[in-house]
Symmetry: C2
Subunit: 401 residues, 2 copies
C-alpha cells in the first residue's frame, strides 16, 4: 500500500504552472505541489502516523447491513462523576481525524461532575465505514444508523456534536429523534427551512431585522455571499450530481486527491484564503494532520462512497421528505467562527432550531474548527454540555412540580 502510494506520487507528471500572479483563484496553486508531494513521500512517517491514527480504541459493528467504524473513548472517572455520551460527526473532506486533537481534552476526566464518553464514527461510506450498495441512502437513513449505533453501545439518550456534512446528518437526527438527542452542539448551524432562507433574503434591504450590526458582514451583501458560494461550490455541484465520475480519478491519483482536498482546506481556512499564494494551508500547523486526513480517504479508497452522500442530500427525493423544513425543539448550542463558510443569525436559525440555548460568535478561526483550535472547541463543547445538563435538570424539576 505505502510503496504503491509513494510510487504513484513520485511518478506524477509535471503539472501546469499557475497563471502569472494567481494564488488560489483558479484552484490549487500548483507551485505548492512539490512541497506537499516531497513531504508526503519523504517526511510523512507512515508507520508513526498509522500508530497515531490508531491511538484511540477503534471498533466496527454491523448496523442494518453496514459495517460502521468508530472510535469509542470512555473516560476514566470515579463514581462521583456522571458520564454522558457524545456522538461526534465529522464532515467532508474530513474524517474522524478532525477530532483527534480535541478528543483528549474532552475525554480526560470529570469536569464539574460530568465526564464525556465519546463515540466518533466514520459516517457510512467514509473512512473505514461501509457505504450503501443501493441508491437512496441519504442523511435521514444515515441518522437512523447512527442513532442505532448509540443504542447498541447502550445509549438510549445522548448528545450530538457535528460540523459540515456531519451537521446535515445531525439536522435529520435532531428532527427525527427528539427523544434520543438530549442536545446538539454544532459549529455548522445551518437551517435549510424555506422560512429561514426567505427571512434571510428578504432582509437584504434592512439587515438590522435579522442580524446585529457587528455581524452584518457575515450575512450581507447577499450578492457578494452568493457569488462567493457559487465560486467555491463547483466541487459540491459535481459531487452532488456525478459522484461516481469524480470518484475514479480521486481513487487512482493520490496527487489529484491531495490537490482536491487541499483546495477545500484552503476554502475552509479564511474568507480571503484564495488570494494567498499558500492558500492559508499553513494555518493547519502540521502537514501531518492534513495528510493523516487524506490517508483516511486513500487507504480505504472511500472517496466515491463518501461523496455519494452529496447526491443523496441534494435531490428532490430527500427534499420532498420535508425534514429540512421541519423544526425541532432539541436544545441547540451553536458556534460561529469568523471564517465559517456560512453564517445564519439566531433569528434565521430559529425556524429550524426553536430552542437555541446559546450562540457563540468567534472573531477568529475557520471551517475546520476542531482541528484548528482544539482547545477553544473543547471548551465550547464542555460549556454546552453543562448548559444542556442544567437545562434538563431544571426541566425535570419543573415537570415534577
Amino acid at each position: 500500500m505505502v510503496r504503491d502510494l509513494k510510487h504513484r506520487i513520485k511518478s506524477r507528471r509535471k503539472v501546469t504552472p499557475p497563471l502569472e500572479g494567481v494564488a488560489f483563484e483558479y484552484g490549487f496553486n500548483t507551485n505548492l505541489l512539490d512541497y506537499w508531494t516531497d513531504y508526503w513521500v519523504n517526511k510523512y512517517n507512515f508507520t508513526k502516523q498509522e500508530a497515531s491514527l490508531n491511538q484511540y480504541p477503534l471498533f466496527k459493528t454491523k448496523i442494518q447491513g453496514l459495517d460502521v467504524h468508530f472510535a469509542w473513548i470512555k473516560p476514566k472517572v470515579n463514581c462521583n462523576c456522571k458520564t454522558v455520551p457524545l456522538l461526534m460527526l465529522h464532515g467532508f473532506p474530513g474524517s474522524i481525524r478532525e477530532y483527534y486533537e480535541t478528543i483528549p481534552l474532552l475525554s480526560s476526566g470529570c469536569v464539574n461532575g460530568i465526564a464525556l464518553e465519546l463515540v466518533v464514527p466514520s459516517l457510512p461510506g467514509y473512512g473505514f465505514s461501509d457505504g450503501a450498495t443501493r441508491p437512496g441512502f441519504g442523511p435521514t437513513e444515515m441518522s437512523t444508523v447512527l442513532k442505532n449505533l448509540m443504542k447498541r453501545l447502550g445509549h438510549d439518550k445522548f448528545y450530538v456534536q457535528a460540523g459540515d456534512m456531519g451537521a446535515f446528518v445531525a439536522n435529520m437526527m435532531i428532527t427525527l429523534y427528539t427523544k434520543e438527542v438530549l442536545g446538539y452542539h454544532t459549529n455548522f448551524a445551518v437551517s435549510y427551512s424555506p422560512l429561514s432562507l426567505a427571512t434571510w433574503f428578504s432582509a437584504a434591504y434592512d439587515t438590522s431585522l435579522v442580524v446585529e450590526p457587528a455581524l452584518e458582514s457575515r450575512m450581507f451583501p447577499l450578492s457578494e455571499k452568493i457569488k462567493s458560494y457559487v465560486t467555491s461550490t463547483g466541487y459540491l455541484h459535481l459531487q452532488a450530481t456525478k459522484p461516481d465520475t469524480i470518484g475514479v480519478p480521486m481513487s487512482d491519483s493520490p496527487v489529484g486527491l491531495l490537490v482536491y482536498i487541499l483546495n477545500l482546506f484552503s476554502y475552509g481556512a479564511r474568507k480571503d484564503s484564495s488570494a494567498k499564494f499558500n492558500g492559508d494551508l499553513d494555518l493547519f500547523s502540521r502537514p501531518d494532520d492534513v495528510l493523516d486526513n487524506i490517508m483516511m480517504y486513500w487507504v480505504p479508497d472511500s472517496f466515491t462512497t463518501s461523496v455519494r452522500l452529496y447526491s443523496e442530500i441534494f435531490n428532490t427525493r430527500t427534499v420532498k421528505k420535508g425534514i429540512y423544513a421541519k423544526s425541532t425543539a432539541v436544545p441547540v448550542w451553536t458556534t460561529h467562527t469568523k471564517s465559517e463558510i456560512i453564517y445564519q443569525s439566531p433569528i434565521v436559525l430559529s425556524f429550524k432550531y426553536t430552542n437555541i440555548l446559546n450562540s457563540t460568535v468567534y472573531d477568529d478561526y475557520g471551517h475546520f474548527f476542531a482541528m484548528e483550535a482544539p482547545d477553544v472547541f473543547a471548551e465550547s463543547v464542555w460549556t454546552a454540555i453543562h448548559a444542556f445538563e442544567d437545562y434538563h435538570y431544571k426541566k425535570g424539576c419543573k415537570d415534577e412540580l
Copy 2:
C-alpha cells in the same frame, strides 16, 4: 509516453462498483471501465492511431506569443472553382479530432463551383496549441488570435463553423469581426443576450409565442430543462471556478481522464443516455474515435489549460464587456440536432443573430454532431456555404445598383 500511459492504466486501483440498478445517474458507470481500459491498453493501436491523427497537414505558428496548432487542408481544384476558407472550431472535451470524419467530405473538391479550404485549429490551450500564461485570456482574446491566424494564412475574409466551446469563441468573433466573417454555420446556436433569455423564460406560460408546437419539448417545461442543466453541469461549474484543481488529477490519471470525458460524451449523446447502462457510448461506433480524442488531452497534457477557458468565459470581467449581449448581422446558419443539450428557437436567437438565413432541425443525433453523423453534418455545411455565397452575391448586386 505510451509505455508510461499503459502502465498507469494497468495499475489503476479497483473501482467502486455502481449502486444497484444505477446506470449513469450517479456519473460514469464503472462496470464499463474494464472494457474501456482493456481496449485502450490491448486493442487501441497507438502507432496506427498516431498516423491517423497525423493524416492531415498539421502546422504550428506563433500568434501574439502563443503557438497555435492547426490542420490546414487545401482542396485540389481546377481554375473554374472558387475556393473559400472555412475556420472550424471544436469544443470541450473535444478536439480537432471531432472533425476528422467530416474533413474529407468537405475538402474533396469542387461542389457547384465552390471548394473549401479548411483551417482547423486546436483552440489556444487545447491539444497542441499553447495556453495563455496570464489570466484574462478569454473568448474575446481567443477570437482575435484565430482571426489573426486566418489573416496570416492569407484570408482577410472567411467562414466559420463551430460547436460547443468553439461556439463561445465564434460568438465573439462574429460580433467583433463582422467584416472578416462572411458567414457562420453552427451546431450550437446559443444566445446569451439577456433579451433572449428573458424572452425564453417569460414565454413559459404561452410557449407558442416563441416556439412551434413540434419543438416545444426542446425548450419547455423550463423547470425540467433547468433541472437537467443543473444535474449535468457540475463539471462546468468546477472548471469555471477551479480549473487548476481538477486539472491535476486529469493530468495524472488516464483512467480518471477517460471516465471524466466519457461521462461528457454520454451526456452529449442522447437526452436519456444517463438512464442507459452503457450511457449510449456505443453511438460513437468505434472506441478508437473517442480514445483518439482523449489522447489529444493526454499526450500534450493540456487538460488544465483547456478548462481554464471556462473560467475566462464565466466571469464578470468577460460578461461586463457586453459582447454576449451585442447583436451581430453576420449571416448565420443554425443546425439543431434532437439531443443537443440546448435548443433556442429562431425568435429567441434573433436578439443575438439578427440575420439567420436558415435553421435546420433534425429529428436525430446529439451534441457531437460532426463525429456522429459526418455526412449529414457535411451536407449541412455545404448547403450553408452555398447559401452564404448566394447571399453575398445578391447583396453585392444590390449594393451596385
